[in-house]
Amino acid sequence: MRGTTMAIEPTLAILSGKGGTGKTLVSVNLASVAKKATYIDCDVEEPNGNLFFNPTKEFGKLVTVKKPVVDDALCDGCHICVDFCAFNALALIGNRLMIFDDICHSCGGCLHVCPQKALSEQESPVGEMSIGQSGTVRSISGYMNIGESSGVPIIAELLKHKDDGLTIIDAPPGSSCLVTESVRLSDFCILIAEPTIFGSHNLAMVYSLVSLLGKPCAVVLNKTMEGGNPSEEFCIKNSIPIIGRIPFDKKLGSLNSVGKIVAREDEHYHEVFSSILKKALEEVRS
């Protein structure tokens, strides 16, 4: 045991029901206003956090999963592995075993049940990941190869590189199992919502997911304008804390659209995001 123990800082996951609501805007800026933070871009189908951070690349690797391969000389066509595979990734035509890599979930089970030891595992690349530094932010990101059926192994790899410091997770949009995997290690979720009826439906969808996962959460209302806000009404009705409002602003939109981090460019936005981060951390500790 060491004399002093380092406090483990929280992990915040940023979510929204669909793309384009400002999820990456909030994630990137929250990471930027912290003294030191790690940003993890879990939107592996469309990663764009690094378009903002433009980090120096310090580490990179291929992400692989294990897929079975058959030795036709050993396989006697007994059918056991085909019946075993819960995902129906195997088929037997005559005495030839077919393996559907895009359906296989890499559970490894077929290797164990084969009486002939005809199956072995081979590493198969599904994407790439990298780690880089941008100012005070350590950015971890990855992407999935086109045609792969699941980004889960890539997200799992990204999360392995998380440390004990403050971490901001930019989750994929929606409420699929990719989102579930992304928020697995988070202490708190921040849901980004737009001020429309459609926006409030998307909010309801992610809210039910985080509730199901038992994660505490709060909302940031983005693109707010004068007048009613169905997303705000949803928060009030369900007693969800609102920890920030980002008014609709052309200047913000244009800086953001050219890949600028507004909190680094503009004093006012530095304050807006610092306040959201502060409130989120207060919620985590409360």
Binding site: I103, V152, C177
Partner: protein, 120 residues
Amino acid sequence: MIIAIPSDKESLDSAVCVSFGRSPFYCLYDTETKQSTFLVNSAADSPGGAGIKAAQILVDNKANILITIRCGENAARVLQPANVELFKALNLSVADNIFAHAQNKLEPLKEVHAGYHNGH
């Protein structure tokens, strides 16, 4: 020769099931003995890969011909190398489709539809 047809019910006057992989039954008709049997499709409620498993069931039962309304890409990936010939079903009963096939009135099934991702 064995003809397979996805069917809604266990009878020759049943309609052809609109789904291949999720069909509740398959009618197997032997053109030599003129006997028909019905198989329960154990792939019908598979969470994923139903088309592959259903195709495997037909291959295991030595089907040579499949008369169907539609067929997914994954099922076709098993049926084609197994030399199962695919024909487009007419909007008629199972029995009438068998009859139409005997009279060479069925068109080959040309298009297979892309698989749906199983929700990752």
